[in-house]
């Protein structure tokens, strides 16, 4: 049985949906970051598959830039998270409702 482009796109969809579920039901900010990584990886699979099946390297290039963006997002996000934890002693999302009137 031949594995086609649609197989990879279905897999990418499933992984993206898993990441979305993670973002929606998690309260811990660190695990929200994990879910974001899942989303980025799901998109990367789609890009690599399209790049392969169309014989074009543009998709792979975008995957590289997505990896770079994921790495820098993580560095800044984790720094902010550490600062927040030092100040408030918790990284739950519910503690971040200080702007509620």
């Amino acid at each position: 049985m031949e594995i086609g482009l649609n197989h990879y796109l279905i897999l990418s969809t499933i992984l993206f949906a898993i990441g979305l579920v993670g973002i929606m039901r998690r309260k811990n900010l660190l695990l929200l970051f994990f879910a974001t990584e899942i989303l980025l990886n799901a998109v990367n699979i789609g890009f690599a598959a399209i790049s392969h099946y169309y014989g074009d390297l543009t998709g792979e290039m975008f995957a590289f830039f997505i990896i770079a963006i994921a790495a820098s997002e993580l560095a800044v996000g984790l720094g902010l998270l550490i600062v927040w934890y030092k100040r408030h002693g918790s990284i739950d999302l519910d503690t971040m409702t200080s702007m509620r009137g």
């Binding site: 594995i3 482009l5 649609n6 197989h7 796109l9 897999l11 990418s12 969809t13 993206f16 949906a17 898993i18 990441g19 979305l20 579920v21 993670g22 929606m24 039901r25 998690r26 309260k27 660190l30 695990l31 970051f33 994990f34 990584e37 899942i38 990886n41 990367n44 699979i45 789609g46 690599a48 598959a49 399209i50 790049s51 169309y54 074009d56 390297l57 543009t58 792979e60 290039m61 995957a63 590289f64 830039f65 990896i67 770079a68 963006i69 790495a71 820098s72 997002e73 993580l74 560095a75 800044v76 984790l78 720094g79 902010l80 998270l81 550490i82 600062v83 934890y85 100040r87 739950d92």
Partner: protein, 190 residues
Amino acid sequence: MFEAVAFYLFAFLTIVMFYITVTTSQALFALTALAAGMIFISAFFFILGADFLGAVQIIVYTGAVMALYAFGMMFFDTTRKVKEKNGNKYIVVGLATLSAVMVVAIFMAPIVSTNIQVFYPEIEGVGNTQMVGIVLFTKYLIPFEVAAVMLLVAMVAGIVLAGKKMDLSLTKMNAEQIKEIEEKDKKVLS
């Protein structure tokens, strides 16, 4: 044949690992499962012939990103169980709708756009890594440099944010000095 077996095996493993990441109540399980899932994803890149991307995936994600998460988790209390939201009907409905729309969009996109043109076709007899180098340093040179600057900025930001007061060693101070610092902090924060 082998491609199909490898695809289904790694698809199953990746989905299971990411499902564990999303549902487990232990942060350490989530971290480990995520690292495993990243490695399994690099297998897809190798199957697809994107060797360099697979190597980058392993090095950057499971090498750098996961190590950074592991260091970050040392700051947080990970032994505590993670509390999760109780199911809200509106959220579930919204999630289901969003996912369905996304599935349809992804399936329709390749079918609708049959007039896709190849920008940078692969050259015969040139390996993937070499081809990536050729395209990256000719067509995508400026985005590449911008990405490098962005990584530098992110590194500086990470050091500045996480490295505050790291020159102070709590183990070398006596109790009064620590109390003094804590009171100063309280004044600044309040």
